[in-house]
């Protein structure tokens, strides 16, 4: 890594003031360390956000859940309220990475981390995300890559929290020099068409300052499943978060979001449509799972993900239907 100046920020305003083309923000530092070591970022200044007070709180109220960006994944996973009322979020946080990493990694860092595509992550490959002309994955080793919207870039979004938060209808507060704005998590994550060098809508002079999850509707339930090759220390092959609202036995609203399949957390709208208006059972869950892979464009080595998506979407719908929160 290159030498850089280290600044312990004491306020969000100070951090925003320090932002610039060669400034990198650091929360838990998990992703930033990897990026520095591979020289994917070469900042002149690293701004440490862990010294900013007040960014590490979790609070639930009638309006919903507020999660500070410095809250660790371990904190979220262990929070009794999150476990009870926002089950998909607790499970997503609790299944990411390893216990050691979950103790350091933050909610904000998890949402803003760069893709783990093994071409992007190596200095040697000048891929499109790094200003090059080639997506090396498309004709290369793509078993862990995107099966949706992979025509420009085949990297998948790495955030497990993103998948759960989109399913839960969360909003993100972004604060810039002139104030804060609130965006829907679903709109925050961006496709390659919106700018190949980025994965989200965070402005160059903005800081993610809060995650806001609306209070669940009465009787709403959620579930999250991560399917990795391994259970310890592995990225998902596919992950899915499901939220369900019901009117009697009938599904009145569903949100089904897939991870590790696209450049963003991928909302499977056709699956949601297939489920709404139906009694939730093996048959409807199977039909919804089938619909979840509509429009997929798998690459040479990753068509197996289609079957995985079908299996875990069906299972997670059924799990959400029997969940208590």
């Amino acid at each position: 890594m290159n030498p850089f100046e280290w600044v312990n920020a004491t306020s969000v305003a100070q951090a925003i003031g320090l932002l610039g083309p060669r400034t990198t923000l650091k929360a838990g530092g998990v992703d930033v360390m990897d990026l520095l070591k591979e020289r994917l970022v070469t900042p002149a200044r690293l701004v440490n956000l862990r010294t900013v007070p007040g960014l590490d709180r979790v609070a639930d109220s009638r309006d919903g859940l507020r999660v500070g960006p410095l809250v660790t994944l371990a904190q979220i996973a262990a929070d009794a309220t999150v476990q009870r009322r926002y089950r998909a979020l607790a499970d997503a946080a609790g299944h990411a990475a390893t216990p050691q990493i979950r103790n350091m990694a933050t909610a904000g860092g998890n949402l803003l981390q760069r893709p783990r595509c093994w071409y992007f992550r190596q200095e040697a490959f000048a891929c499109k995300k790094k200003g090059g002309a080639t997506c090396f994955a498309q004709a290369g080793e793509n078993q862990y890559h995107a099966i949706f919207g992979n025509g420009i870039c085949a990297a998948v979004h790495p955030s497990a929290l993103g998948v759960a938060l989109v399913a839960l209808g969360a909003k993100l507060e972004l604060t810039g020099p002139t104030g804060a704005r609130e965006v829907l998590a679903e709109a925050f994550f961006t496709r390659p068409e919106a700018g190949i060098d980025r994965e989200n809508d965070l402005g160059a002079s903005e800081v993610l300052t809060e995650i806001r999850v609306p209070a669940p509707a009465a009787g709403a339930t959620s579930a999250y499943t991560k399917q990795g090759e391994k259970e310890s220390f592995d990225w998902p092959l596919v992950e899915v978060a499901v939220t369900l609202e019901r009117n009697g036995a009938t599904c009145s609203r569903a949100s089904i979001v897939l991870g590790a399949v696209a450049h963003t957390p991928h909302r499977a709208r056709a699956a949601e449509t297939a489920l709404v208006g139906k009694a939730i059972d093996e048959t409807s869950a199977r039909a919804a799972a089938k619909a979840a892979i509509e429009g997929a464009t798998p690459l040479a080595e990753n068509a197996y993900k289609l079957q995985l998506v079908e299996a875990i979407v069906r299972r997670t719908i059924l799990a959400a239907a029997t969940a208590t929160g």
Partner: protein
């Protein structure tokens, strides 16, 4: 002819057929060691003597060594898989901050070399043949300075056509990795390949003289006479060693000699190679390996990195630390070669084997030694065996010996084919092996112990309840499988120890042998303690230093079988010195004295005794000492002196696994492993169990996860880390039941064998057989990923 005498030693399997047998031994060999049941320290579960040091971080590994004035180094490596270097400009690097020395590689080690050197592409520098090949190195005051300076070395490459895919490399029109025939000598503990094999394009072979010698009978003709033939093709991936501690050294070149702190499996082999490459006398090179974080066969030599560190140290006049990072570890310092094996097995309708024919292609990158045929040649009775094995050169990092070279690959194929044969013959897989694993006459066979192991393992896993393949309802299918292991009983006569007793009663055992994590430190203490009637903790073990009597390189599962007899012999000899000196004090002849429970006793008169410490205090000199070596196997004809011979009888084991397969996701979960093994006389059963656990885990990891993935378009490894190079973790670790049998052969003063390699050989095959039992479909490709399981299930669906 040396003086000999005859002794009676235990022979057979404890609890089965243990009896005495006569052995002629050299006159100064110790008396026979009774079976473990009659001993106090040897054969008893003994916690590692260095366990506390390790878990508290006090143990000093190579990467912990910090010397005064030490510099840090970084290697410049090729980004190209095949290239000619036109020029190297080190001027900017030399001037960079903190830089004290720069060295350009002029001689590459670890790869095959051209038989006819005049065929090499003309170039001022070694031709680049794999991504990550070392080009030069920089030493500087800090690691950051070295890293920065290495980026300033300007290398002008002329890229050449390359091939990284083993199938494409076999095509006669493929780019040539070497412009002519190339060979690589075998290294200690395996690896390398036969020399003077025909080379066509990138294909080096077929070699028909695999392990166990030339072909037996006529397999091709015999196959035509078989009642049943199983014909299948298996593919295995490239696995990297991925030891916890990476390769590395701290090299300290001083006018009086070179000291190398090395993470190595062979202090002696590193010393020898350093001396040879650097033009030094062996006595001017000292290699120290106090503690070591694993090697699995990849850490015998000086290494390009080690030689570079020594050269940088010489230039800079300061010690140089050069530890590889994880990318370098994956790319350039060894791997288990991949393989493609077509295996045909013919049998009579009663299961008797008629013929085995193997055609195997493997790639060891720029190295050789991708053979897999040990299990085909050494495990089962079969009159007609033909193996035809070829190495395929690719532009990829060279292989190195890896825990039972060739054997997990070969076992994956033959053990699955035998299960398929059993099914065709409507025989139980265990019964089939009872029928064919019967050869007691071949030099490497070990049928008696495996018969017992099958029996014990089948009982423990509940084999009698095994259902028909694919019989479970629902998406989670469970199955049981088993597979066998065979390995050589390798011994090494360059194995020496010194044992000292000092007047204060302290006891030391010294040897250059290194403990690579397997526990030889503790085993040596046990053997010396047993002989002197002490506890293991009473013995100080000083090892891992070439200033001590020459040890044995830890490869081929030969360490315990080679070095513990030397330790016992030395302890026995120093004991005789002690007893000679104290005999008069006890008023009894020395040969009537025994050492037991910290005392010296007169045999059959337990009241006449002297405490060990009191006896030591009476020594006529401050210290007495004896040095001894491993003698030739009892009863074996005297062979050539020195390293690496194969003793009579093999090592082996049988493993049973229980798996659950999710047929909707393709995920395989190993739920239980029963590992039944033999290793001669177990010195420390706790340590043996630990090594078997490790072998099983490495086998699960190989079966399901590990895979070196090279980008097909650039030859760059895409998963050169421990994040996407996937290794078994805590949640993938099943309960492992280790069952050890004690098998005595009466071949040395401790009669110990090894366990490191046989413990990992059968695991992948046992899992594959269990997967078949679960889902009714064979997975013949490693690793058995969800993608492969789902594809296999789908192909059955369409039939």
């Amino acid at each position: 002819m040396a003086d000999e005498r005859t002794i009676r030693v235990p022979v057979g399997i404890a609890g089965v057929d243990l009896a005495d047998a006569e052995r002629a031994v050299l006159a100064d060999e110790p008396p026979p060691l009774p079976a473990n049941a009659d001993l106090s320290v040897v054969g008893k579960r003994t916690p590692r003597l260095d366990g506390r040091l390790k878990v508290t971080g006090a143990a000093r590994y190579t990467s912990d060594v910090r010397l005064a004035g030490m510099l840090y180094a970084r290697i410049v490596r090729s980004p190209h898989p095949h290239a000619k270097i036109k020029s190297i400009d080190v001027s900017a690097a030399t001037r960079a901050r903190g830089v004290r020395a720069v060295h350009v590689v002029d001689h590459l080690m670890g790869s095959a070399v051209l038989r006819d050197k005049s065929q090499e592409i003309p170039s001022p520098h070694p031709i680049v043949r794999y991504v990550g090949q070392p080009i030069a190195a920089v030493a500087a005051l800090t690691q950051a300075d070295a890293d920065d300076a290495a980026r300033l070395v300007k290398v002008d490459y002329e890229p050449l056509p390359f091939v990284v895919d083993v199938d494409k490399a076999r095509d006669p029109s493929a780019p040539r990795v070497f412009p002519g025939a190339a060979d690589q000598a075998a290294s200690a503990g395996g690896g390398g390949g036969a020399s003077n094999v025909a080379v066509t394009g990138n294909v080096r072979g077929p070699n028909k003289s695999g392990p166990g010698g030339p072909p037996r009978g006529d397999a091709i003709e015999a196959l035509k006479t078989a009642d049943v033939v199983v014909d299948a093709t298996y593919r295995t991936q490239v696995q990297t060693h991925s030891a916890m501690e990476t390769h590395g050294v701290v090299a300290d070149w001083k006018p009086e000699g070179l000291t190398v702190y090395a993470s190595t499996q062979g202090t002696g082999t590193v010393r020898d190679e350093m001396a040879e490459v650097l033009g030094l006398k062996k006595s001017d090179v000292r290699v120290v390996t106090e503690f070591m974080g694993g090697g699995f066969g990849s850490k015998f030599g000086a290494g390009n990195f080690g030689v570079l560190a020594a050269q940088l140290s010489k230039k800079a006049g300061a010690p140089v630390r050069l530890m590889l990072d994880r990318r370098e570890e994956h790319e350039g310092v060894g791997n288990r070669p991949g393989s493609t094996q077509r295996l045909r097995i013919g049998a009579k309708s009663d299961g008797t084997l008629v013929a085995i024919h193997l055609e195997a292609y493997g790639t060891a990158g720029t190295g050789t030694g991708a053979g897999v045929s040990g299990p085909m040649k050494n495990m089962y009775a079969c009159p007609n065996v033909l193996v035809e094995e070829s190495d395929v050169f690719t532009n990829a990092g060279p292989s190195a010996a890896f825990r039972a070279p060739g054997h997990p690959q070969g076992a994956f194929a033959i053990e699955q084919s035998l299960d398929e044969l059993a099914e065709k013959l409507k025989m139980d897989p265990v019964s089939l092996r009872d029928k064919i694993d019967v050869d007691e006459t071949g030099p490497h066979f070990n049928a008696a112990s495996r018969r017992r192991e099958r029996q014990l393992g089948a009982e423990k896993i509940g084999w009698s309840k095994r259902h028909a393949a694919g019989a479970d309802a629902g998406p989670i299918k469970r199955g049981l499988g088993m597979a066998q292991s065979v390995w050589y009983r390798i011994i090494d006569l360059d194995a020496s120890c010194e044992v000292r007793i000092t007047r204060d009663g302290s006891v030391e055992v010294l040897s250059a042998v290194q403990d690579l994590g397997t526990g030889i430190r503790t085993a040596l203490a046990q053997v010396v303690a047993e002989e002197l009637g002490l506890r293991a903790t009473d013995v100080a073990v000083r090892i891992g230093d070439t200033n001590y009597p020459s040890g044995v390189p830890s490869g081929g599962s030969k360490t315990t079988g080679s070095i513990t007899p030397a330790a016992r012999n030395a302890a026995f000899q120093v004991k005789r010195q002690l007893l000679d000196q104290v005999a008069t004090l006890l008023g009894a002849p020395a040969d009537s004295l025994v050492m037991k429970d910290g005392k010296i006793l007169v045999r059959d008169q337990p009241t006449r005794m002297l405490a060990f410490k009191a006896a030591a205090a009476k020594l006529r000199t401050e210290q007495i000492s004896a040095r001894a070596s491993r003698q030739e196997d009892y009863g074996a004809p005297a062979g050539k002196p020195g390293r690496g011979r194969i003793g009579v009888g093999g090592l082996g084991g049988v493993q049973f696994t229980a798996v659950a397969v999710d047929v909707e996701t393709g995920i395989i979960k190993v739920e239980r492993v029963v590992a039944v093994h033999d290793c001669g006389r177990p010195i420390n059963p706790l340590g043996v169990e630990s090594q078997i656990n490790g072998g099983v885990l490495q086998g699960i990891s190989y079966a399901l996860y590990e895979n070196r993935i090279l980008d097909r378009n650039t030859g760059v490894m895409v998963n050169a880390n421990l994040e996407s190079y996937k290794i078994v973790g805590a949640r993938e670790t099943p309960p492992i039941d280790v069952v050890l049998i004690e098998q005595y052969r009466g071949r040395s003063s401790t009669d110990a064998g090894g366990i490191g390699e046989p413990a990992t050989v059968p695991t992948c095959a046992a899992i594959a057989n269990a997967v078949y039992n679960a889902i009714g479909v064979r997975i013949r490709d490693l690793p058995m990923t969800p993608a492969r399981v789902l594809a296999a299930l789908a192909s059955r669906g369409t039939k």
